[in-house]
């Protein structure tokens, strides 16, 4: 029998694994130790026999009472490797390091995960339940926590003063913003550019990062429609300020891109 998760939601209901994972566990639980270890080595998600990380974690937690069992070492290493492969590499598109902070974030995320799993051996940790529901997203959440810590240490600005930035932009900023907008449109299909672009955005002030994310999500900067979520309303500043911050972000990205190319 598959042990249910223990974490309770606000509504007092127990969280549950997604149906695909529960079905996978039903199938996997009948495998022998050898078969499970073999299947765990299948790397490609698209390959038959691939075991989702949520399931690997279930078996690892199930084996918490087993000491020094190499079988669990196999599962552990596969999971640990997958976590590593999901963390952004600290490189630019030309291989040079774009941000040493990224390396610190990788270490932080991996060790947070490793500590959760180790601690769960002696006392059930409900926070790991989320990793059994959506492993990749739970790792993403650890990344977010690690980034916040890194940004705090870097003392990045976090807030916009209300509407102090609603004036005219300097012409060179506008020009650089427009130039970057063009670069983005022409290169966005290149995975290397997208990877660079994503890492470069991380270097911007946090409010600019959020503005760009909301633009990417398709949320309008402003709207006359009642009840429409807008970037201006969400951040509590004027539409003009949002546009200025966006253009400043693009201008910064343009500079970074030029620095990469040269």
């Amino acid at each position: 029998m598959i042990e249910p998760l223990r974490k309770m939601s606000r509504a007092g209901k127990a969280y549950a694994r997604i149906p695909e994972i529960e079905s996978a566990l039903v199938e996997l639980i009948s495998l022998s130790r050898e078969e499970l270890a073999q299947r765990a080595q299948v790397r490609q998600k698209s390959d038959a026999g691939f075991i989702p990380s949520e399931c690997l974690l279930y078996f690892l937690r199930a084996g918490r009472g087993d000491n020094s069992d190499q079988h669990f070492g196999t599962i552990y290493r596969v999971l640990a490797e997958r976590v590593h492969r999901q963390l952004p590499r600290a490189t630019s598109r030309h291989g040079a390091t774009i941000d040493l902070t990224a390396e610190a974030i990788r270490d932080d995320v991996f060790w947070r995960f490793a500590e959760l799993v180790a601690g769960d051996r002696s006392t059930y940790d409900e926070r790991l339940d989320f990793f059994e529901i959506r492993f990749d997203r739970a790792i993403a959440r650890l990344r977010k926590t690690a980034q916040e810590k890194a940004w705090r240490l870097e003392n990045r600005s976090t807030t916009l003063s209300s509407d102090e930035d609603s004036g005219e932009l300097l012409p060179e900023v506008e020009k650089a913003a427009a130039a970057f907008s063009e670069i983005k449109s022409s290169q966005i299909d290149d995975p290397a550019f997208r990877s660079w672009f994503d890492a470069a955005i991380d270097l911007l002030p946090r409010t600019q990062v959020r503005i760009l994310e909301m633009i990417r999500q398709g949320i309008p900067i402003d709207s006359q429609e009642d009840g429409q979520v807008t970037i201006a309303k969400t951040l509590g500043v004027s539409e003009r300020t949002i546009r200025n911050q966006r253009d400043k972000a693009y201008a910064s990205l343009r500079e970074m891109f030029r620095g990469e190319v040269i």
Binding site: G65, A118, S122, R134, R210
Partner: protein, 191 residues
């Protein structure tokens, strides 16, 4: 104000992560419902949407060393050896415990054989059974808990394992013929 009325940031982010879809529509719904957490929600949405292609190349030496170190840490974190609270109990003691609890002996046996689903046993019942046995409730709970460990131990064989079936306390009581009122009383968490 209840937990449901004033959720913590962690609660809200937990729920967001477990939504079926974490795209624009869900994000907007959360931004409307929890405006105070807008920054964190947008930050999380960005992380969830981040285009991370699983790196396919060889891991660096540093990565490999880190994994090895983490595994050693995991090995060292093995739980203390569980003491079997049932090991020293005689048949007479088990019989007596069943009498005190007012249940058929097979109910007590089900606990000893770890056939009871831990989540189905109230703290109150556990306290009563531990008192009847003269054992510690924590030791009993811990002993019940590694139900998944039972599955894991069955992996020591290289054959397909026997299915370890754990059932709810209610089912155990039903199968033992305990009448409904008594079952209700035994399973209740309040005196």
């Amino acid at each position: 104000m209840t937990n449901e009325e004033r959720p913590s940031l962690e609660d809200v982010l937990d729920e967001f992560v477990t939504e079926v879809d974490t795209g624009r529509e869900t994000l907007e719904r959360y931004l409307v419902a929890f405006p105070a957490f807008a920054n964190e929600l947008v930050d999380l949405a960005r992380e969830l949407a981040r285009p991370i292609e699983s790196f396919a190349g060889p891991l660096t030496d540093k990565d490999i060393n880190t994994i090895n170190e983490a595994w050693r840490h995991y090995e060292a974190a093995a739980p203390r050896n569980l003491v079997d609270p049932w090991a020293t109990l005689t048949v007479d003691q088990l019989r007596q415990a069943a009498r005190v609890l007012g249940v058929p002996r097979q109910v007590v046996a089900a606990f000893r054989e770890r056939r009871v689903l831990p989540s189905s046993v109230s703290d109150r019942f556990l306290k009563r059974i531990s008192t009847a046995l003269g054992a510690s409730a924590e030791a009993l709970r811990d002993w019940m808990a590694p139900s998944m460990g039972e599955v894991a131990r069955s992996y020591k064989a290289n054959e397909r394992p026997l299915e370890t079936v754990q059932v709810t306390l209610e089912r155990i009581l039903l199968d033992a013929g305990v009448p409904p009122e008594r079952r209700k009383d035994l399973m209740s968490d309040t005196d």
